[in-house]
């Protein structure tokens, strides 16, 4: 594997890439995956580098395979926007400018687009689309509960992410969608979001909530409930809820159909999941869970990406021996090699630090190797992305990560 910014790494395209596309070129598993699928859903626990992985996969796909590729992210670092040559990006898709590619020294074979999930805006669009008439639409958009739900209700992010994905896929505008998933409280919540929405619309609860508002008669069945709810929440609040859900119910059919279509896209053969993890124990355990859960749901696991992996040189036996020699004989060595290097004490201290640091990092690398072995059994395609020596600041940086992902 090529280190992300090792000497001689050509970022993405150029002659090397074209040569690899020659007839005898055997595509790597990740390359095959991106060429064959239309939707790539990137998931993993927080802080493992999902957003960067999604962006790097998209950029690399454009550089190598061509087509129109959209990276849909949830909450990108400002620096990632800058890396894509964009001031910022929002709900509306924007194209990564030619200058960004020129700066990276790569001629793209297609177009790279980026968009960010704006939950509030997307909900508004959805209401506008599904509302049966202008009055219902305006009443919902003005309801204080609506604002609160779309802005803060965690599951609303999950639902809207899947909804956007469906919409973009159905539009047929893009050859490949790479989706960075929202940070769910529970790992795969977003997968259940469409189904939960369907269940919610069909639930007795919703009927209960809307009964007093619709008929002004509290039915026998809902009486205990409303009585307690009244005392806890107050009847005005209940009325607000009831009004909101009554309005919402007018859109029942549209939502249910949509949610079912979203679920179908996720399970479709054109979709695949990429699980990202670091080799920290908690992240790795969560990745294990993701992999098992995808299998249980019969969803396609395309690849497991190990991010921020320490370099293999830390596992090298000769290097460990060398570190031992340095550690034990720092002073003698300092005296022996010195010449005009510097005061022996200083040289000895530097050698000692070098040896100590190697041992520390080597220990961490060995622990990582154990975690890696535990994951390797679970996935057919396992790619490792080395620890970036510096932050990714431009498209070239993303393409370097993409190169490592390509495997």
């Amino acid at each position: 594997m090529t280190p992300p910014d090792g000497p001689g790494t050509s970022p993405g395209g150029g002659a090397a890439a074209r040569a690899r596309r020659a007839e005898d070129h055997v595509p790597t598993p990740v390359e095959q995956l991106l060429a064959a699928r239309e939707v790539v859903i990137v998931c993993g626990s927080g802080g493992v580098g999902k957003t960067t992985t999604a962006a790097a996969l998209g950029a690399k796909a454009v550089a190598e395979l061509g087509g129109r590729v959209l990276v849909l992210t949830v909450d990108p670092a400002r620096r990632l926007a800058n890396a894509l040559g964009l001031e910022a990006f929002g709900n509306v898709e924007v194209r990564v400018p030619d200058e960004a590619w020129a700066e990276a020294g790569v001629t793209p074979r297609g177009e790279l687009w980026a968009a960010m999930l704006d939950t509030k805006r997307s909900w508004d669009d959805l209401i506008v689309r599904h509302a049966p008439d202008a009055r219902t639409r305006d009443a919902i958009l003005a309801n204080p509960l609506y604002t609160n739900i779309t802005g803060r209700f965690v599951q609303s992010h999950d639902y809207i992410a899947m909804e956007r994905l469906y919409e973009l896929h159905a539009s047929g505008t893009y050859d490949l969608l790479v989706v960075d998933t929202p940070p769910s409280r529970h790992a795969l919540d977003f997968l259940d979001a469409p189904q939960r929405m369907v269940e919610f619309f069909g639930s007795r609860l919703l009927r209960w909530l809307t009964v007093p508002y619709r008929s002004r008669i509290v039915s026998v069945a809902s009486k205990p409930f409303t009585q307690v709810a009244d005392r806890i929440l107050g009847s005005q609040f209940l009325q607000d809820i009831a009004e909101f859900f009554t309005l919402f119910q007018t859109m029942h059919r549209g939502f249910v159909q949509r949610a079912e279509a979203v679920s179908r896209v996720l399970a479709d053969r054109r979709s695949t999941f990429v699980v990202v993890s670091t080799l920290e124990a908690p992240a790795r355990q969560e990745a294990d869970y993701f992999v098992a859960e995808l299998a249980r749901r019969r969803l396609h696991l395309g690849a497991v990406v190990l991010n921020k992996v320490l370099p293999p040189l830390l596992l090298d036996r000769r290097a460990l021996e060398a570190a031992d020699v340095l550690h034990r004989g720092a002073r003698d060595l300092a005296a022996a090699i010195n010449g005009e290097l510097g005061p022996v004490d200083d040289v000895a201290r530097v050698l000692g630090e070098v040896a100590g640091s190697f041992r520390d990092f080597s220990l961490a690398a060995h622990r990582e190797a154990d975690e890696r072995a535990a994951l390797a059994a679970a996935a057919d395609v396992l790619v490792a992305v080395p620890h970036a020596r510096r932050d990714i600041a431009d498209l070239a940086g993303l393409l370097r990560v993409g190169e490592a992902l390509w495997g």
């Binding site: 670092a77 036996r317 640091s357």
Partner: protein, 316 residues
């Protein structure tokens, strides 16, 4: 400036995923307990990571002691609702709570702020009743914490009468008193955790009146060399010294030097992010540094080491 972190009664520990939020929450709890404070650590996103960090059995809603002065619990909003109903309603309907709790739990997941307030309410209740000297919350990640802390205010503006509204007042009194309540943001010296910490600090002061008590920077890499030593190191990697080293130490020495160079680079990148963090937060806010534990296998020992590091930082 003295850090009065552990003198408070309620600490919400938050941070971006992957920075070690749970471990730091557990370590703060351990540190407080070691200094004689009756402490409860509560996990809000029940993933079981807190129990792992303290090597305790799985935590439930009912607090269980894990060592002297330290108990753990896992938040459960349905249980919280039951407890609340039992304490406040005294209606015959309480007998039927079984099914009602499920129904209300469902309302809670649809209606904004209800789940959050059941969480925050339980925590404030433990503080108010003085069951513990300190409640440390392994809280939601940076994306959700503001919604949680702002929930009493949100409920106040949505619900105009009823028992819940009466309840929010005393919660706000506890939450908004810096002598009692504080938020601790955990970061690591990396781009995204630092960015999220800066954003969260701003959102906390914009949308809540809960005090930001401290930022804990976890996993800080050691500084290997002083400036002059760094020059020495650079020259060691050039001729004729490199050849002399290879002769005496063996061919593996190149990898050892490369690894040290990687360590220096990682440390330098991290230091740049920390500078940005300090600049953004100003010097009035305490920042506590926890070194990277290379030997760290997650568990009670590692948590104990982090507790020690935090103890040194707050001067205990």
């Amino acid at each position: 400036m003295p850090v009065d972190l552990l003198e408070r009664r309620l600490l919400f520990v938050t941070g971006k995923g992957g920075v070690g939020k749970t471990t730091v929450a557990a370590a703060l709890g351990l540190l407080a307990a070691r200094h004689g404070r009756r402490t409860l650590v509560c996990e809000v996103d029940a993933k079981g990571a807190l129990a792992d960090a303290l090597e305790a059995g799985p935590a439930g809603y009912k607090p269980v002691p894990v060592r002297d002065g330290l108990s753990v619990m896992a938040m459960d909003t349905e249980e919280s609702l039951k407890e609340y109903l039992a304490l406040h309603l005294r209606v015959p309907l309480v007998a039927r709570i079984g099914s009602l709790a499920r129904t209300l739990d469902f309302v809670a997941s649809a209606a904004p702020g209800v789940k959050e307030i059941l969480t925050v309410g339980k925590l404030c209740y433990e503080v108010r009743e003085r069951h513990y000297d300190l409640v440390v919350v392994d809280a939601s990640a940076t994306g959700h914490i503001v919604g949680q802390l702002a929930s009493p205010d949100a409920i106040n503006s949505l619900v105009h009468v009823g028992a819940v509204r009466e309840q929010t007042r005393w919660m706000l009194d506890i939450l908004q008193d810096p002598a009692q309540t504080g938020v601790v943001i955990v970061a690591s010296p990396e781009e995204m955790p630092v960015t999220e910490t800066i954003d969260l600090a701003a959102r906390l002061s914009d949308s809540t009146r809960v005090d930001l008590a401290a930022v804990v920077v976890n996993r800080v890499l050691p500084e290997l060399f002083s400036r002059s030593e760094e020059d020495l190191f650079e020259r060691l990697r050039s001729e004729p010294w490199l050849s002399r080293l290879r002769e005496r130490v063996g061919p593996g020495v190149d990898a050892v030097l490369d690894a040290a160079e990687l360590a220096v680079r990682l440390r330098r990148t991290g230091a740049e992010h920390l500078d940005a963090l300090r600049r953004a937060l100003g010097d009035r806010l305490p920042m506590l540094y926890v070194p990277e534990l290379f030997h760290r296998t997650p568990g009670r020992r590692a948590t104990g080491q982090i507790a020690e590091a935090l103890g040194e930082e707050v001067g205990l």
